[in-house]
C-alpha cells in the first residue's frame, strides 16, 4: 500500500532520526522515490538540521574549564553529608533493634501482650451469657431458645450455637471449610441428612483453655459467620427467579448425590452459572453472597471452564453488587456480635 504525502511529511522527522520501523521506512522510501515535493521537503529539513547543529551555542568551553568544573563540584559535595542508600537506613533501624536494652524492652512488651490476650480469651464475668448464645439469639429470634445447660457453659459454644440451629444447617455446620458449597440448608435437605441430636455436638468438646479449645472456638465463630451469610433469600415472585431457584435446588440435590468427579465438576460449573444469574437477576445480597461463596473458592476450576477474564469479570460484578447492597444498609440486617 502506497503512502500519501501527508503521511510521509508526518513521518519525516522520525525518518531523519532513523526511528521508523522497517516497514514504515520502506514505505517512506518508496514514496520519496516518486514524490519530488516530499524529497524537497526532506532536503529542507536536513538543511535546517545542519544549520542548527553548526550554529547552536558552543558546548565545549575548553579543557581547563572541565578540570575546574570537577574541582568545584567536589568542593561543594565535600560540604554535604554523605548520601545513604534507602536500604542502609533500614539496616540502621535493624541495628537499633539489635541493642540489648531495646531487645529486653521488646521481650517484656511481647510477654505482656501474650498475657493480656490469654486473659481476654479465658476471662468471663460470672452470670453473663456466652457470646455465641447472644449472637445466635439475635441472629435467629424465631428459633427455639437454647437449652439452659448450653447457655450456662461458655466452653460449649458449639453446643450453644449448633444445637439450636435448624437440623439441616447443623448438618452443614459439620462440613469442612473446603466444602463451603455444600454448607447450605438446601444441600442438606436434598441429600437427606438425618436429624442430629443436640447432645452430639458436645461429644468432642475439648478442655477449656487449651489450644484445641481455642481452635474450635475460632472454627465455630467462622461457621456462625458463614451461617449468617447463608440465610436463604426471600421467596421468589417472578417466574425467572423462581425457575432459577428450582434449577439451583435441582443442581444442589444432584451435587449432593454425585460421586463421580467429572460429573461433580460439571454440576458445580452449572450451579455457579445459575447462582451468578440468580444474583444478577434478583440483586438480593443473600443471592450475591451465595454466588460469591461458590465463585471465590472455585476460581481455578471455573477459570478452566469459562476462562480467566469471564471469571474475573463476574467476580468483580458480584463484589460490586455486594458492596452496593452493603451500602444500602436498610436491606442488610445488622447482626450484633
Amino acid at each position: 500500500m502506497t503512502m500519501e504525502c501527508g503521511e510521509c511529511l508526518d513521518l519525516l522527522s522520525a525518518y531523519l532520526d532513523g526511528e521508523l520501523s522497517d516497514a514504515e521506512r520502506a514505505k517512506a522510501d518508496a514514496h520519496l522515490a516518486q514524490c519530488a515535493r516530499c524529497r524537497r521537503e526532506l532536503a529542507v529539513r536536513r538543511a535546517t538540521h545542519r544549520l542548527i547543529a553548526e550554529h547552536a551555542p558552543p558546548a565545549d568551553p575548553g579543557a581547563a574549564y572541565w578540570d575546574e568544573f570537577v574541582r568545584r563540584v567536589e568542593e561543594r559535595v565535600r560540604e554535604l553529608p554523605a548520601p545513604v542508600a534507602s536500604g542502609a537506613k533500614a539496616s540502621r533501624l535493624a541495628r537499633l533493634f539489635a541493642s540489648p536494652t531495646v531487645r529486653f524492652a521488646g521481650g517484656i512488651a511481647v510477654a505482656a501482650a501474650v498475657l493480656l490476650v490469654a486473659l481476654r480469651l479465658t476471662y468471663r464475668p460470672s452470670g453473663s451469657l456466652p457470646k455465641a448464645a447472644a449472637y445466635k439469639s439475635a441472629a435467629e429470634p424465631e428459633a427455639p431458645a437454647p437449652q439452659k445447660t448450653d447457655a450456662a457453659r461458655p466452653e460449649t459454644l458449639a453446643g450453644a450455637g449448633v444445637a439450636s440451629m435448624p437440623i439441616q444447617e447443623k448438618a452443614a455446620s459439620r462440613d469442612t471449610a473446603g466444602e463451603t458449597l455444600l454448607a447450605s440448608h438446601e444441600i442438606a435437605l436434598a441429600a437427606g441428612v438425618p436429624p442430629q441430636r443436640s447432645g452430639e455436638a458436645e461429644e468432642a468438646k475439648p478442655a477449656r483453655g487449651g489450644m484445641a479449645y481455642l481452635s474450635q472456638l475460632h472454627a465455630e465463630r467462622a461457621r456462625m459467620e458463614e451461617k449468617r451469610l447463608l440465610i436463604p433469600p426471600e421467596e421468589a415472585t417472578d417466574p425467572l427467579t423462581r425457575s432459577l431457584r428450582e434449577e439451583e435446588l435441582r443442581l444442589r440435590g444432584e451435587l449432593a448425590r454425585s460421586t463421580d468427579t467429572t460429573r461433580t465438576n460439571a454440576l458445580n460449573r452449572d450451579l455457579a452459572d445459575v447462582l451468578y444469574r440468580l444474583a444478577t437477576c434478583t440483586g438480593d445480597w443473600r443471592d450475591v453472597n451465595r454466588a460469591l461463596l461458590l465463585w471465590r473458592p472455585q476460581y481455578d476450576r471455573l477459570a478452566a471452564a469459562f476462562g480467566d477474564s469471564t471469571v474475573n469479570a463476574r467476580l468483580a460484578r458480584l463484589e460490586r453488587l455486594l458492596l452496593e447492597r452493603i451500602a444500602d444498609s436498610t436491606r442488610v440486617p445488622v447482626v450484633p456480635r
Binding site: 522527522s13 522520525a14 529539513r45 538543511a47 558546548a59 565545549d60 567536589e74
Partner: protein, 222 residues
Amino acid sequence: MAAPSVQTGIIALVVLIPWFRRAWEQCSDAAIVRLVLRGQPAAYAVLVRRYERRIYAIVRRMVRTHEDADDLAQETFVRAYQSLGTFDASRKFYTWLCRIAINLAINFTEKARRRATESLDAHAESAGFEAEESVGSGSNPSAQAEHDELSAAVEKALAALPEGMREVFILRAFDDLSYEEIAEILSVPRGTVMSRLARARGRLQTVLRPFVRDEEGRAPGE
C-alpha cells in the same frame, strides 16, 4: 640496594597509577554509585567527569549564557549527589541525571521568563538583545558576522520553542538520545516524543527558513 628499590617503586607507581585510573574509569555507573553510598565520596568525581560535557551541552542549549549553564550543570551534579540514596540501580544513571538537569533548566528558564516580564530593566535588556540582533542581521559581509547572525537566530529560535518541545528537541538533536531514552527521561510516551519532535522541527524550519541553504548554498526552492 636502597636506590634500585626506590626506582622500582617509582616505576611501579608510574605503571600502576594509570592502570588503576583506567580500571576506575571503566567501572559501571551502578558500581560507582554503590561505592559512593558505601562511604567513598571520592568515586563520585568519576561520574562527574563521565557526564559533565553532556550535561553542560544540554543545559547550555536551554539557557542563554555560559555562566547560567555552568551554574545549572554544577547544581545538577550536587543535587544528584544529595539524592544518590534514592537512585534506582535498575535504571540508567545518565537518564536519571539528565532528568535532574532538565528539571533544573526548566525551572531556571521559567523564573527568568517571569523576571523578564516583571522587570522593566529586563525588558530593556531584551530590547537590546533584539537590537543587537537586528544590527547583526544587517548586510555584514564578513563570514564571522554571518556566523554570529546565524548563531543568534538559532539561539533565539531554540529559546522560542514551547516548553516540552524544546527539551525533546535538544535531547535528540544535541545528545543523540533515542526516542525511548527521551521518553524515559521526560516520563512521557514514545509517541509524544515523536509528535513533539515533529512539531518542534516544523516550528524551527519556519523560523529559520530565511537562513537555510542547501549543500550548494542555494535557498530551498531556488
